[in-house]
Symmetry: D2
Subunit: 163 residues, 4 copies
C-alpha cells in the first residue's frame, strides 16, 4: 500500500483557511534570516501565544499534561506526553500541523514556536529559575515528533544562542 | 504509550459543528428500527448524496480512485483504494469519520452510507447490471476500514435483505 | 449590489464535511413522514443532544443566555437572546446553520431540533412543570431567526401535536 | 439589540487552529518595523501566495470576479467585486477574516496581503505595465471592506513607498 491513514490525516489537519498563507509566510520569512534568528522569532511568538492560555494545574504531571492536551485538542495542534527522567522533564509533542503548515524545509525552526509556548508555560508555573526548556535534537518521526527538555542549562546563557 | 497519533487524529476528524447532532441522530435513529432497515435508509441516503457529485473518469481504475479520493479529501471522509480481484472489484475505504460521528454501536449500519454512494457511482458509470456493490463483512481495523465488493450477486435478490 | 456579507457568511457556515450528508438526510427524511412527525423526531433528537451539555447557570437570564451562547459559539450554531415578556419567556435564536444544512424546504420542521434542545435545557433547570417551550410561528428573517416561547400551554396537550 | 448576525459571523470566521498564532504573529511582527515595512512584507507574502493559484479567466470582468470568488470561498477569505470606473479598475474586497486574525490594530498593514495577491494576479493576466494596483485609503465598514485600485500611477515610484 503506497499510502496510509497517518499520511491521510496529516494532509487534512492544517486548516484550509491559512495553509497557503502559512506556507508563503514560511517561505518569505526563511529568506530573511538565519535559522537561529528564525528560531528566536518563533520562540518569542510562542511566548506571546502562551499568554493567551492559563496553565494552572501543576498539581501533578498528569494533570498538567491533561490541561495542555485540552488546549492542543481545541487548536488541533497535536498532543503531548510529559515524563520525568533522571536529569530532565521530557516534553514529547506529536502530531502538530507544523510540517503541513510551514513546510518540511521549516522543520529546523518551526518547532521553536512550541519551545516558546512550553517555556512560557513552565515559567508561569513558577519553575526553578535555573531550569531551561529547549528543543532536543531535530524533528523526529517524519516531522511528527518534537522533543523538548526542561533541565539545568550549564553552559547555555540564553534560549536564543542555542544554534 | 497509552495513546497514539491515529487515535488523536481520529478524535479530531469529525466536525465539531455536527458531532453532537450526528451522535444524537444515530442514537434516536437506531431505536427506530432493525439493522437491515437502518442499513436500507443509510444506503438510500448514500445514493441521494452520490448524485451531488459527478464521477465520470472511468478511463482507468487509478483515475477513478483519484477522482473519488479528491471528493473524500474535500469532505474529509477518508480515502479509498480500488483493486481488481478474480471475482470482484474491491473497494477498501479507510479513515472515514463514521465511528466518531455515529458511534461504535452504529458500525453495523453506518457503513451502508458509503455502500449507497459507491453503488450509485458505479451504476452511473454504466456498470454491468448483473453486478452489485455490497459491503463485505463487518468494519475492520477498529472501525477504520470498510470493505465493499462489486460482483455478480447470484443469490442476493436486493441490497436490502443482506443481513 | 447583488450580494452581501450576510449571504456570504451564511453560505460558508455549514461544515463542508456534513453538508451533503445533511442535505440528503433532509431530503430522504422529509419523504418518510408528515411535518408533525418530522418535528417530533427532530424535537426528540434535540432533547437527546441537549443532554450532552450541562446548563446550570440559571442565576440570571443574562448568565443563562451567556452559557447557551458559549455552547452555540463552540458549535457555530448561531446565537440566542432571552427576554421576558408579560406572558412568556421569549427565546430568539439567530444565525443557525439549519437553512444551509437541511435546506429551505426543511424550515417547517428543522427548527424543532432547537425546540427540543431548549425544552430539555429549561426542564433541567427545574422550570415550573405547567410551562411548555414551543416554537412560535415560522422561521423569520429569511430562515435566520427562530422564535420560541416558554409559557403556560392551556390547550396544547403535548409538544408533538402542535401542527 | 446589542449584537447582530454580522458580528456573530465575523467572530466565528477565523479558524480556531491559527487564530492565536496569527494574533501573536501580528503583535510580534508589528513591533519589528514601521507600517510601510510591514506593508511591504505582507505585499510580498501576498505575491508569493498568489502563485499558488492560477487566474486565467480574464475573458470578462465577471468571469474574473467569479474565478477569484471561488478561491476566496474555498479559503473563507470573503468575496470581491470588480468594477470599472473612468480612471481605474476598482477591487472591493469584503468579509476577509483579517480583522479577527491579525487584530484591529493591524488594519493599517494587513490589507497589503490582499494588495500583493491582486497585484500578482493582474500582472499574471498580462496587464498594461504602466498600471499599478494599490490599496485606496483605509479599511472601511469596520474593517470589513478593503478597496484597491488598478490604475496608472504617475507619481508613485513603487508599491512600497505609498505610506
Amino acid at each position: 500500500m503506497s499510502r496510509n491513514n497517518a499520511q491521510y490525516y496529516e494532509g487534512q489537519q492544517c486548516s484550509r483557511q491559512w495553509k497557503a498563507f502559512l506556507s508563503a509566510f514560511a517561505s518569505e520569512f526563511a529568506s530573511k534570516g538565519e535559522t537561529k534568528d528564525l528560531r528566536a522569532f518563533m520562540h518569542q511568538l510562542g511566548r506571546t501565544m502562551a499568554n493567551e492560555y492559563t496553565i494552572t494545574d501543576g498539581s501533578s504531571l498528569q494533570a498538567l499534561e491533561d490541561k495542555m492536551n485540552s488546549i492542543w485538542a481545541e487548536l488541533d495542534w497535536g498532543w503531548v506526553e510529559l515524563s520525568e527522567e533522571a536529569e530532565a522533564l521530557v516534553v514529547a509533542h506529536r502530531a502538530s500541523p507544523f510540517k503541513m503548515a510551514f513546510g518540511v524545509g521549516a522543520l529546523s525552526w518551526s518547532p521553536a514556536l512550541l519551545e516558546g509556548i512550553y517555556a512560557q508555560w513552565f515559567e508561569s508555573l513558577g519553575m526553578d529559575p535555573t531550569l531551561r526548556l529547549l528543543q532536543k535534537g531535530d524533528a523526529l518521526e517524519g516531522g511528527q515528533l518534537f522533543v523538548y527538555e526542561l533541565k539545568k542549562q550549564i553552559d547555555e546563557p540564553s534560549y536564543f544562542t542555542r544554534r
